[in-house]
Symmetry: C2
DNA sequence: TGAGATGGTTTAACCGTTTACATGGATGGG
DNA sequence: CCCATCCATGTAAACGGTTAAACCATCTCA
């Protein structure tokens, strides 16, 4: 009696390891061993098995394998959205490294909704991914932090690594790997760049509170002002989300609301810069002749609009996240890495001529 | 005797359905049924079980579930790269629809390498995804087509749908859903737009052969020329890949090689347009004053450089792919959909003044 | 020549779910 | 009051692999 009956509807059924064993005239254990390749076997058996595999076009069932105790070879990445260039580049880095290490990549998007993020993490837990990589800034809300810490522990219990990529640690007691990049340092450097060119009234465009990434950037901006002994005018900090159209809106409203009271702009990211630039041009203001501008991220729009900006190692971020996660499977140690950022000078800043560049102090 | 012993290393082990059953004082079958929700159960049992689930923070093991015959709820998408805007937008559409239908999304990248694409498909087969969505144009090579057809049949045998997204069908005998968009029509329309403005010497920049997408676009370009009775000069078709820096290179070499012999440019996509624009500006040539230009795709760079282009329903493509795949699981019918494209007019085309716009014929 | 080592193969237990089938207690009708 | 019915639950057999342990030739060496 055949062990398995073909379903009566006659629909073809993918070949199993049993089919292969039968055709090769060996036991399933032998097939399994030969395919895993980590076990000695007679060359003639080996070739019989490989032939059967080819003839049946057999591929192993990932679920059966996962169930049998082999940790599935895949990493999960959770991002806000795939089309946002920053996330896309990090995702590409994750992909790269995952492929290089023979891993498959599961992607979840959250649309920026913390609730959906938590739900997505549960899904990843079900999958028993080796690592779950969370990318991007978050609302720094305490209740959220609490729940995330719980999930971190749940993932750790299941043997998965949690990686926080481009976001701050959850706390000393939470098992997570952290891969950050230097927002504050980059913002400091690029603001200094403007200050050195004699600009004193620098408009900041971006999220002012609630999200960790722009908060760090604005902190660097303020620190640079302080370091150069330039008075900090909160009225120069304009609040808006990190999108292109918001950059347009913020600049437009600013220009509509009165005479221009700034000579330079620090856009929270390159998208905002592109939007703000459009608004400026509608008023006949050119970069860098009339207004100087810098951005942050060094993503595609930056090169197009010749923008001096801060380079963020997006793909490196993703690669490092995967690398550390897989490494720590053996070493078991949690880690914290801070990747550097650096300024990229293009043609969007000119010395400030509107006011005499009075030396600081 | 407890059925399962804790591993001696004492490492915590994720809770299983058995743990839940034990704590709730019922059998695993009851837990399974209550969690699936598709079965009647006494309210008191139900609440006992739900409590145990919460207390143990239980999530089901996707592998066990998949093995037990429940088709895993996930779709796979295979793209060249995640950072290319076109792919990113399609991927976003796939994500959207996948989430909406309660599915998880697996992503594979190929870097444009057919070998890696085929390998990736094997991986997806192992996962038993409901659908495997292949995005993007391909080398229209016969051997490749043959192997892909084999894989299509293998996927069908495993009950997975294969969806070709933005690429041509493999043949009538191959079980696959096809979701295309109208490259030729869009190219025809946008070329006509230039012709109507009196341009007769229109430079085409892009891949001339081997890849299906640019081939369709160039076909539309030629068809439009023919329709307007404008002689077709093969010398106006410049060959290069579909990247930004290639657009720059092609235009630069063209300008270096002799006097300008065109009044308008049809860039194979918006990235090429952005690159070509940069090369033009380095020569002091402005769009649209000195040269008219149109692109294809309507992706981010297009808005930045005010480019008239062809809108491609990228996200719609992804969403449709998922929708059809999941639909056809019930209906079982393969399908072929062609989504429309339309021209988006911005400010990159001016009437041609260099030659008198002699009416055709 | 026989005991022990060795290397290749098989046997069988197990992974965590789902689900067909068995079971038993409550319910209702005759 | 008994039996048929029905509903909620339990029992146990898959699902398709992996792997420890048993097994069995064959080879080696005393």
């Amino acid at each position: 009696m055949p062990r398995r009956v073909t379903p009566e509807d006659g629909r073809p059924r993918p070949a199993t390891i049993r089919d292969v064993a039968e055709r090769a005239g060996v036991s399933v254990a032998t097939v399994s061993r030969i395919l895993s390749g980590t076990y000695p076997s007679a060359p003639t058996t080996r070739s019989k098995v490989m032939r059967a595999v080819r003839e049946l076009d057999y591929v192993a069932n990932a679920h059966a394998r996962g169930l049998a105790g082999v940790r599935p070879q895949n990493v999960a990445i959770v991002v806000n959205s795939v089309i946002s260039p920053h996330y896309a580049h990090v995702a590409q880095g994750v992909q790269d490294q995952a492929v290089r290490e023979g891993r498959l990549c599961i992607v979840g998007t959250t649309g920026g909704d913390p609730e959906r993020e938590l739900a997505t993490i549960q899904l990843m837990r079900e999958q028993h991914a080796e690592a779950v990589i969370l990318v991007g800034n978050i609302v720094a809300d305490e209740a959220y932090r609490e729940r995330m810490a719980d999930y971190a522990r749940a993932l750790a219990a299941a043997g998965s690594r949690l990686v926080l990529c481009g976001r701050p640690p959850l706390g000393p007691d939470v098992p997570a790997i952290v891969v950050e990049y230097d927002n504050t340092g980059g913002a400091h450097a690029v603001t200094s760049h403007l200050l050195s060119a004699g600009h004193k009234r620098i408009l900041f465009l971006g999220r002012r509170t609630g999200y960790t990434t722009p908060e760090s950037r604005i902190a660097g901006y303020r620190a640079a002002l302080a370091a150069h002994r330039v008075p900090h005018d909160p009225g120069l900090e304009v609040d808006g989300t990190m999108e292109r159209r918001e950059g347009y809106r913020m600049m437009r409203e600013r220009l509509d609301s009165g005479p221009r009271d700034f000579t330079a702009v620090f856009a929270g990211n390159d998208l905002i810069a592109a939007g703000a630039r459009e608004a400026l041009r509608e008023r006949g203001l050119r970069i860098p002749d009339d207004v100087s501008m810098v951005g942050f991220d060094d993503l595609p729009p930056a090169a197009d609009i010749d923008l001096t900006t801060v380079h963020v190692p997006h793909e490196e971020l993703g690669r490092t996240a995967v690398r550390l996660a897989l490494e720590s499977e053996s070493t078991g140690s949690a880690q914290h890495v801070l990747l550097g950022t650096h300024i990229v000078v293009r043609d969007s800043v000119r010395p400030n001529l509107e006011e005499p560049s009075a030396a600081a102090v």
